[in-house]
Symmetry: C2
Subunit: 338 residues, 2 copies
């Protein structure tokens, strides 16, 4: 029964989230029942959706319960097993939460899956070859419906989702444009991630200015847009959308603190006959196998080389998470736990 | 060569449209060329989309040219023919514009079609069994995707589109709720058009109040919404949409004068995983035959009994049109020309 550090949601944010919303505790891992395994987490994934779950309002996920371990994706190793499906040493990915160990019921479908780390490093199963990668795949393929020669745009371009989006979009022959914050990220987007262009939104004081920059970067207009941020960026993109354009709404991080982020010109949905569709990738399990296979192939061939920001130790998770919400991370944000 | 009264767009509106934007002139109809027919218009259709065309900005239709006859749908009778496709006395529907007569090139595909007035009165081909009816059909069937037991909502419920929407939605077994302005229209919606409920938006000072009324009228939430007006009504509907709901954006009449109509909570598109899609019915000609056949059947069987507001004489068209934009019409707005 190893001792297990855990981070609980202690109280809900009023406006911005802060370190004081979390509480670190230590407990013993419980003895295993038949069919259960004990997983030691090597990596915890930090993702923007977690901020939404910290609120108590209507959202797409159940609110995170107070006093319970923060939920989250984990990659680790089986260290004890009372299931014949898993052996000691198996590398596994699941939803272990913000803690060092988790007990998993191996009989529950979808609770956990074994992964092969010969071609793909374990941590990538939380990013490019995991939920964020599949998120990019679903939004691009199923909603943005790219055709060769189309122009595809993504915000939060250098994050885990944006990185995968770029590789997937380029593989389909699309002119691919990112929007990111700061010259370093934009340079990385074009030099490392394969974006044709990247626009630094921090250089633009308002939507009109950003929209002008998009017009230059997207001379044939925008056919598909993958939305991670909302607010000013969406206002800037909408007038650049081509007739019959598609917008996949995956996140609106700029509104997570409760600030209103009205859409200035919804008329453009009609004027340009757009399709604007929200989605959550966990609801489309049927597409995961094909998406994961393509993403693993892109990583294996070096066409997708995702960057990771790795915080050390569970105690560093809250600050790393708050930094993610402010865009301070560079690439996929992880916490190394072992 | 009969003399032909015509209404031209004289100048563009600054803000609200006014009678001064139009000019009535009289000219002679030109002599026919081979393949042409002369149509005497019995009815001119007035439709909200015309307001959008009076502006000079980017819209879904080409702007109406200054100094030219206002475009518009017409139903009439062939009074002179140099085409072997049309005979004197044929009843026809086309885009003859705001004038008493039009010369039509009968060889041009889609310029005009003959209609059968034994079961369906001629004027209905401009409403329930015409463009507005097909608009309702396309938005309902192709975008709102109704299933029996779903809840479908439409704004501008007693207009030409809303009336047809109600009959089509009820035919599919849906709980069907309208939003209209004033107690007379709401009574008409439930007593004559088949709506299960109708909400008078004029009884509500803000989106929150209207949203509460929608909650009562739609106890199982809203699965499909057909948007004709935008602004406060859309803000009120969005929080009531069920997960995976569909919104067909057909018009945003509240923004036609150039006033901003921001969407307050676009996050709900993500939270509820909505699909929001704009469309123009003229771009989906493949669906017209099936739609017109169903609509003619509903009119023939008495399940769709559209009301018409009929202004007398071409000179009355501008005031009737301005009244339409303010919701003063009751049912399909027409001008009787002969």
């Amino acid at each position: 029964m190893p001792s297990n550090q855990q981070i609980l949601l202690d109280n809900r944010p009023q406006g911005e989230a802060s370190a004081g919303n979390f509480r670190l505790v230590t407990s013993d891992t419980p003895p295993l029942q038949d069919g259960q395994v004990l997983v030691r987490h090597h990596f915890l994934s930090l993702d923007p959706y977690m901020r939404g779950r910290m609120n108590d309002g209507k959202s797409y996920a159940q609110p995170q319960a107070l006093g319970e371990v923060m939920g989250g994706g984990t990659a680790g190793e089986v260290v004890e097993s009372r299931s014949d499906r898993y052996r000691l040493g198996d590398k596994v990915v699941g939803m272990g939460g913000w803690q060092q160990y988790s007990v998993v019921d191996a009989t529950k479908p979808g609770a956990m899956r074994k992964v092969d780390t010969t071609q793909v490093p374990l941590s990538h199963y939380l990013g490019a070859v995991g939920m964020p990668g599949v998120t990019a795949w679903y939004g691009l393929v199923r909603i943005c419906e790219p055709k060769a020669g189309d122009t595809m745009v993504v915000s939060a371009a250098t994050g885990a989702v944006g990185s995968a989006f770029a590789a997937l979009s380029k593989a389909r022959g699309c002119h691919t444009v990112g929007i990111a914050g700061g010259p370093d990220k934009c340079r990385y987007a074009t030099q490392e991630l394969g974006f044709d262009e990247c626009i630094d939104y921090k250089q633009h004081a308002d939507a009109l200015s950003l929209s002008r920059a998009l017009k230059i970067a997207c001379p044939k207009g925008i056919d598909g847009y993958f939305e991670n941020v909302g607010g000013m960026v969406l206002d800037a993109v909408l007038p650049r959308m081509n007739t019959f354009g598609r917008i996949a709404v995956c996140g609106m991080i700029s509104g997570y603190d409760g600030a209103p982020i009205p859409l200035a010109n919804p008329q453009l949905i009609l004027v340009s006959r757009l399709k604007v569709q929200g989605f959550i990738v966990g609801e489309h399990k049927e597409d995961w196998p094909a998406a994961l296979a393509e993403l693993a192939g892109l990583v294996g061939s070096g066409k997708l080389r995702p960057r990771e920001s790795i915080a050390e130790g569970l105690a560093a998770a809250p600050e790393a998470f708050l930094g993610l919400l402010k865009g301070r991370n560079f690439g996929k944000q992880l916490v190394k736990l072992a």
